[in-house]
Symmetry: D2
């Protein structure tokens, strides 16, 4: 089927390619003239036959909201917009409402798989009305991994449920990565184990902790066995923060996901005001010496 695809960055570019391989006709739009198929969003809309399906794959937040607003002015009754970016689920109700006023349908779709999705397929979690899901199903089927549909695709619930599920997916991802990372650090620290990359590789088959993330960690250690070149500095995107906020809003204890998030915050600090305060306190009550900052 035909699909308009807005946003041809790291993710969108690969998705266009995967959809084309599956035989779909994809018209891509991006501000970058080197990758775009059409000059403007309006061109993209006019190129497609109705009812049109347009997939947005641009950064979450302002860029996505603005694209939705523009599409609301360009598309028409019976068309369908899918936000496949990492938007906060709270944006979805607003997007859906804006589009519904023009008779345009809306789905939110959480997409997981990173740069590997081109070949492996993407895990998809969708929120919205069943009839809209049905309309876009050929696209979902082409993007998701081969195998049974329900092992790489879910209709999670109404509008917002797709992004909600993706948000939680990423929260779990934080926790898993931190679990491996703590174990890695401990193995790295003790002298008894002198073959850390080998141990992690031996976990990739048969063990309880085998996973795709573990495979990737093994790959990273094959490139750089002591991770010498990489600094322990870790960004976080919104989903981890949102997951903790939602956990709190729903009174769900989330100590592991929170700990993983905080470890990232700490990794980005040059010095910690909190630990300055603790050092100051120890100095006050116990006369413990403090380490002075360089001046």
């Amino acid at each position: 089927m035909q699909l308009g695809l807005v946003g041809l960055g790291k993710m969108g570019f690969n998705m266009r390619e995967r959809l084309r391989r599956a035989g779909h006709e994809v018209v891509g739009y991006d501000r970058n003239p080197e990758v775009t198929d059409v000059a403007t969003l309006a061109d993209l809309a006019s190129t497609l036959d109705g009812p049109r399906v347009v997939w947005i794959m641009v950064p979450a937040g302002d860029a996505t909201r603005q694209t939705v607003a523009e599409l609301a002015g360009i598309l028409s009754d019976g068309d369908l917009v899918i936000d496949g970016g990492n938007s906060r689920f709270t944006d979805d109700a607003e997007n859906a409402k804006l589009l519904a006023a023009k008779g345009i349908g809306y789905l939110d779709c959480g997409v997981s798989g990173g740069v590997w999705g081109l070949d492996n397929g993407y895990g998809l979690m969708v929120g919205g009305d069943a009839k809209d899901v049905e309309q876009a199903m050929p696209i979902f089927d082409a993007l998701r991994p081969e195998g049974p549909r329900d092992e790489g695709f879910a209709h999670a619930g109404g509008v917002g449920a797709g992004h909600y599920a993706k948000m939680v997916h990423n929260g779990i991802e934080y926790g898993m990565m931190q679990a491996y990372a703590e174990g890695y650090e401990l193995l790295d620290k003790v002298e008894l184990v002198d073959n850390v990359p080998g141990v992690l590789k031996a976990w990739t088959r048969g063990t309880v902790v085998r996973s795709w993330l573990l495979d990737l960690l093994v790959k990273a250690l094959e490139d750089d066995p002591a991770l010498t070149d990489i600094k322990g500095y870790v960004e976080d995107s919104g989903e981890g923060r949102w997951t903790v906020e939602e956990a709190i809003n729903n009174r769900v204890p989330a100590p592991v996901i929170s700990a993983a998030l905080y470890a990232r915050f700490v990794s980005r600090q040059d010095d910690s005001p909190a630990m300055k305060a603790v050092a100051a306190l120890r100095n006050q009550f116990g006369g413990h010496s403090v380490t002075k900052t360089q001046s």
Copy 2:
């Protein structure tokens, strides 16, 4: 090759079967007359041709230490003992020393894979001397999953390194399970997502969080979609506790693994003395009412 196998419980029984399927001659000993092949440990030793290899698969702690001590009295110079149980790595040096005094070799082997190992194979992490590892390699090759040797087997280091690696493996396992569990609880709590088992199943291909543990959680939810029949009561075996102790001994921050361990402790409490104290405090300073215990 020939192998003596002491302990034919849930793990040992399956391992004997997997080894026999691979063509090895296994003589099993267990106190349970219904599963044992020989009447006594001495019988087991006398049945085997030298140099003998005896694999211990009994509960960690006293049972394993006692079996090692008995074997030290029965086996002889050039034989080899492998402890495949979940022993604390600190036991290994003592076992090795006891056996070395008789000229008997010793390997410690962490074994992961649970009840699925019979068919999938077991992930193996081994500690000890290279020549002893070499001697037992046909056994390791039969137990580990098919595929390249290094994806299911590692010689982790000297005596103790195998159990150390397995200990850390289990600590990571705790953190991963808790990460999934927190995400599951959040999805379960919010109304927006109305297809929780479907969402988890959709994660099993293509996504970043796909793993064998996730596959098992999906299976559990297929049997009981809201886990209605299962109480949130979780035992812990030693490895999680030992991992945190080792993290502390080595000054390695392990917030995720610790949080996962503590969640298990809490799950087993009928009431929490700590939270009684917090409730008492709130009552004292704010006049906040407390919930009275039933009398």
Copy 3:
């Protein structure tokens, strides 16, 4: 000076009393006819001479916002409203704007001290303009504890800063209470220490951990040495949750405050969906038995 005081609950009632003891003329309004001094908010306003100062001490959220809105319609240019409740700091800018449109000043004041404030005085943290702070200073001086002004009162910053400081105060309070509670539980658990209430009492002078909260815990243990009558069920008000949200918004690691908050969430659960999931997983991979729910 004169003060209108809206809300004569547990906190407001005591504050009226403390202010009157200090010689101030307080006109209190409450919906409860047994405690109110006037029949309506309008009566309260007409009883006071201008420029009027009205202190709001009602539940945070809708009740406070509604009172502000009513006062905006009743008070006039040059008057001053102070919100002394536990409002979220984000409410303050809106309250201030609403009142400013009528020329009415606004201060937000975090108040700590609980039921003990009547005699001990209340710790006060204020946000707003310096001239408004000056206008209400006789009231602040009467409410705060005796001693130097800056040991019980701070002008924390602009509108919202008072409630922000109070929010953080309560977050810290959560962490401190949980620290004592964990220590208490450990002492309570081990047999070696057979005089737990005595140990805690011995900490109240001279030690590093001495504090008012500790004094209260000692008092609670004097009433009920094993806290037998109190269930480990702990509510949380908004400030703890807001503190963690703000920590996340500002990328501040807050593992202790979060852990204290989550412990409260857990304390209120009959069963934990997360731990059901972990139990289910252990059963799947290891054949570990699960505890069945009663049916």
Copy 4:
């Protein structure tokens, strides 16, 4: 009464002074000739009249164990040794046994108060036999703060209970310090609150979080309002680690104390192997750029 005091460092020196002010006759021994009263331990013993009481105030571990062993050879039946250092409670049973073989009594005494103890007195937690406690009571009464005995002194239980109580005290201390530190960092980070030292000072009277530690933090901020000169590098002594180990041994959830301990571990790392692993993982699956180490 007479007391032999071994160890005249930061703590012991002040304790000798406090005891002398109270009229006790203290004979101090230290390897440092500038502070010692006698040349050798044997001299110390021979200077005292029997039955002798000797208080050890040297570093925990080898130094204390060695001093106990020497005293076992010098003192005699009916004498009493008190270990006032920060020994692990597991050392106490061994010390007591060694001394009991010579008829010498043993008490372990946790001492809190730091450099302020000279003037404020020390909080004391004692383990051992009641008759030994009675014998040393004049010393305890002189060291503890003025006021009722039970507000600065407790007989916590049998041998080891004093150090156990002190260990838990320090664990709580870690949690409290971290709670203040997290709150401080959040206030420090947000622009809304522009008077952070003032806010903390305002908490010192009347509020729920008032404490001696808070007083010290206020003092530290008076010296250095933004803690500019202090690096966020924090040592930990054994008690925090032991508290977490004991929590785990006793299946007591201790998330707050653990988080405080881990924050100290992190504060001392130049780079984090764990966060290198997380950065490597993100790079692998998402093509997220990593920060390279300087080469």
